[in-house]
Subunit: 287 residues, 2 copies
DNA sequence: GTTCCGCATGAATCGATAG
DNA sequence: ACTATCGATTCATGCGGAA
């Protein structure tokens, strides 16, 4: 097991540093070294069934739940009582029908002590192309929200969006500096001020997120776009909090956390991705 | 049990009539009088879990699966081997978390002999408003596709959409004559011609449907918008086929079937809605 | 005939109050 | 403690009337 720590000076309080920690190893083992009740948000997209090569031992649909449960047990330990776990997952088509391992997983995680608070939908606007005789392209994935308690931290103002038809027009008209300023204010805890500032022109979002997948990265299998962890980080954490991604991949979650001045812990089993994540995180600090 | 039959002259073959049959009663009983293996498509939105004592006895979350299973068993009997069952449903929040009765229902229906082929998402653009400290507005519902076999009839060309409008059903902008013309062509098996006619500008949709609910309908609250059954009727049936809705409500499914020159059977337990459905169906024939 | 504005209307959920 | 009822909250849509 190898750990790399990357530091970034916090622009808002110079004494405080933002830390991105990246760990090489299986999260089942690595998580045992993470302090219990210390993480504010877990957001991850675990390896899909049979998608990656046999790194995790070639998980088959029928074995997925048994493979995941010991890991979610560790996640339950490290999460703060007020924290949230966002799990991005979608069941595969097996033999012409949707497999039930995700539904089974929800049930078993509830039995494990998790609350299944909500299911967000990630609507992928530019989904994977293709044509089949008996089904259309799959344009959505589940974003399952689990909690340890019914009460948890949520900063809804941080993700407010322009109202109705204004949305599309207005969003395009915002300059890049406006966007950055928005993020800064939100990160600084001025979210409420924003909502007051714009008054009736902002609305709370729904549980359907429409985001395009990032196609720019040709090297790696389609991970989620930066916008996705970014949205949940803004919604469920404040500046200085700790974000965990037990299946870090190319480091998207850590990069998003760093951008928003949150500390992060990322765990990745594959050396190739571990190196890539560190590279991407460093690029965020010094582009 | 009372049955009303409404006939409409088929514009394409004068000898043949399109029939809309509406039955008053509990579908559990009424379905036993429907011929086995005769229905091409079942599309329905059953009563959701209600706290209030409703017509079905105020089904509680924990009782929902047991209530539904005997009815889905009857549906399995009447559906053709090549037919499809589309179930519109969404689980409620109970005690701060999503209840699992829908997930349980999927599992039990599989055990009953159904194939769970796909899960479409209905993205409701105008969802119910409201604000809560720990969740956002619910803007989506499940559209579960079940089949008796892995091979079933599907006419993908019938629901092709203009490119760039993926997953958006923009029938509203089409004039009434355009709608009829389109439907006629599709119903006549000219779907492929349409796709050739417009050439590159048409694309297959995805498994995410974006439609608004019909709220300000003068007469009654439409359960789902006309476009919803209409879309699945075009996708899974051809002209002259038989559509079944065991929870007809205000008759939306029958009206959509009639518009598209499909025969229909609608079952409704509540006299008030039974009458309303007949009224709405008649209005479709003679506006 | 357009366009614009005002208004009623929801398959909701939470928290408090009451039996 | 546990269940039933009620008010407050909130926003996209489509209708009707007005300019």
């Amino acid at each position: 097991m190898k750990t790399q720590t990357i530091e970034k000076i916090n622009l808002f309080s110079q004494e405080e540093k933002i830390i991105a920690q990246v760990i090489l190893g299986d999260c089942l083992e690595a998580l045992k070294n993470v302090k219990p009740n210390s993480v504010d948000l877990i957001v991850t997209s675990p390896p899909y069934v049979d998608q990656r090569d046999g790194t995790y031992g070639g998980i088959k649909p029928g074995e997925y739940v048994a493979w995941f449960l010991p890991r979610s047990a560790e996640l339950l330990k490290v999460l703060k009582p007020t924290g949230t776990f966002i799990l991005n997952i979608k069941e595969k088509v097996v033999d012409g029908e949707r497999h039930t391992y995700v539904l089974d997983l929800i049930r078993e995680m509830k039995r494990q002590g998790w609350f299944w608070t909500e299911e967000f939908i990630w609507h992928k606007k530019n989904c994977y192309p293709g044509k089949w005789p008996n089904r259309f392209r799959d344009a959505w994935e589940r974003l399952l929200q689990f909690n340890k308690r019914k009460q948890f931290h949520m900063y809804q103002e941080a993700v407010m969006v322009p109202m109705g038809d204004w949305a599309k027009v207005r969003l395009k008209n915002l300059s890049e500096t406006d966007k950055i300023r928005d993020n800064s204010k939100v990160g600084s805890g001025f979210g409420k001020n924003i909502s007051k500032w714009v008054g009736r022109e902002m609305a709370y979002p729904t549980n359907v997120l429409t985001m395009a997948t990032e196609t720019s990265n040709k090297n790696h299998s389609a991970v989620f776009p930066n916008e996705l962890p970014s949205w949940f980080i803004k919604l469920f954490t404040k500046r200085g909090d700790i974000i965990l991604d037990p299946f870090l991949g190319s480091g998207t979650t850590s990069v998003a956390a760093l951008e928003l001045d949150r500390n992060s812990i990322g765990i990745e089993i594959k050396k190739e991705y571990f190196d890539l994540a560190i590279q991407n995180i460093n690029r965020q600090i010094r582009p």
